[in-house]
């Protein structure tokens, strides 16, 4: 589905954001694309969507070069940008005008999601609050049934109940043929719904692992004292003790602390070195 080989990209008069970036993703899944602010997540998503042209390297999405923006490619891709804008029309009018452009659009699916999100089809989109407009955009994106859904910071602007509703709707709406790429720096918002974590740092993919792979390799614990821990890979102080990452042992698998994992990676901790500890 996504094939990136030695991708190089820079904005005009700027240093290279990506130099020799490579990434492969063949299987459908819900993948979290994480990275610090300015790591290039949104730019990578724009490159994948065909809004930007890479200077060097090969970028193939669903068998197409994105920047060619061929109709067959665009019919199977929907991007929910971080910032969005709607025309001054009602939800009904927007759906009537735009849904027909997507051959696999699910009208019934849209109705169900709008119901879940408590959105009235007769309302003017621009009269809705920012969060409601975002929910409508997410609902529309899911209803397109595109094979590749790109969501850039989808939970920004959503209140707490809406975030949990978003997770529920996403999990129930995504089909087994779809790849959903969610870029966010709010890792807590998506930790229960993603199948895979990809981390971007300094223009490179520094981490690419499935959730199953992570639980098989590492354990995430909260301990009162470090004395009982033999080999923490990474630790962070927290109220009441430490949050640690240590190699997976024979004990039961632990819940993944994505925030801790993220911090470990951006601090350049070698997760495969069982004796490395920082902080």
């Amino acid at each position: 589905m996504i094939g990136i080989q030695n991708l190089t990209f820079h904005y005009k008069k700027q240093p290279a954001l990506f130099a020799g970036l490579s990434f492969q993703q063949e299987d459908p899944s819900i993948t979290g694309l994480l990275g610090k602010n300015g790591a290039g997540k949104s730019t990578l998503l724009k490159l994948m969507a065909g809004l930007l042209e890479p200077q060097l390297g090969q970028l193939i999405i669903n068998g197409f070069k994105p920047f060619d923006r061929l109709p067959d490619f665009l019919e199977d891709l929907f991007m929910v940008p971080e910032e969005f804008s709607f025309p001054s029309v009602t939800i009904d009018c927007y759906v009537k005008a735009t849904a027909a452009l997507y051959p696999n659009f699910g009208y019934e699916k849209l109705d169900n999601i709008l119901l879940e999100f408590e959105l009235n089809r007769k309302k003017y989109i621009n009269s809705l609050s920012h969060g409601q407009r975002k929910k409508f955009l997410i609902a529309f994106a899911l209803a397109t049934n595109c094979r590749l859904l790109i969501l850039d910071e989808p939970t920004n602007g959503l209140d707490i109940p809406s975030k949990s509703l978003f997770r529920k709707v996403l999990v129930t709406s995504v089909t087994e043929e779809q790849l959903v790429l969610i870029s966010t720096h709010q890792v807590k918002d998506i930790e229960t719904i993603i199948d895979k974590i990809v981390m971007l740092d300094e223009g490179k993919i520094v981490f690419n692992e499935s959730m199953t792979g992570i639980t098989q390799k590492w354990q995430f614990k909260k301990v009162a004292s470090l004395s009982e821990i033999e080999n923490p890979i990474y630790r962070e102080k927290c109220p009441g003790g430490f949050r640690i990452i240590c190699p997976a042992g024979d004990e039961d698998e632990s819940d993944i602390d994505i925030e801790l994992l993220f911090n470990a990676i951006v601090n350049h901790v070698n997760l495969n070195s069982f004796s490395h500890a920082t902080k």
């Binding site: 724009k46 809004l51 109709p71 910032e83 735009t98 452009l101």
Partner: protein, 266 residues
Amino acid sequence: MPQNKFFNPGRFARLFRNDLLINYKTYFLALAALAIASYAFVFLFMRSFRTMHITDSASYYFVPMMVFILVILVVIGTSFPLFRNQIKESNYLLSPGSTFEKFMVQLFIRVVLFIPIAMLLFWVGEHLAKASLVADPVTGFDPLFIPDFSFSLFFDYLITRDILKVVFSLFSVATLLFAGAVCFKQFALIKTLISLGIFIGANYLLCVVLSHIFYPWETSGFNTALKSYYVDAVWTNMQYYFAFIGGLSWLFFLPLAYFRLKEREA
């Protein structure tokens, strides 16, 4: 199927319908404003002649016609309105359709649909304006003396000055503005006109430089020494030059607009 990559009638129809459903209010308001403005402008313009007893149609209709053509050019020069906003531009570029279809939808709406509708509104406005004028026995003004408006008046006038040259030149200007709307992000119309001014100025400067080089004894300061001669029995070299520039430059601007649209980033 290659045709499906570049043009599919069904997809074109869906893109066109999408544009109309989203923008119908804007289009309706723009046409209503044009109708009211045509009527009001022509009415006031005709009224200003009420003490002059003029019966020549060109006096009444030439200026309104020029203003009408300018309005059409402005409408064409403001094509691709979504490009003025980066977020809307991204949505537009990602809407499922080929670059050629998106290009054709704009051309279809702004040229093929808008121009005939605008002409009809202008025609109605001219007739209504004349019908609204009231005779003034004091000045001897009678609207019945004003000839009826017809677009053929304009064409009759043009025939004497080579209709094809003028029509193609207008089309070339329209395509220049259309290309400008794709090439520039902000204030496209103004930037296009400035670019055109710079281009014309640079051309004139080139002529000045060449005149100084080749005819130094006939040239002084910013004067040019352009030589005019008959190339054949009908046209001079200068007529050929302007006919070539005016008549054929759309062949450059339309592909330019298409390829700029294709390579546009957001």
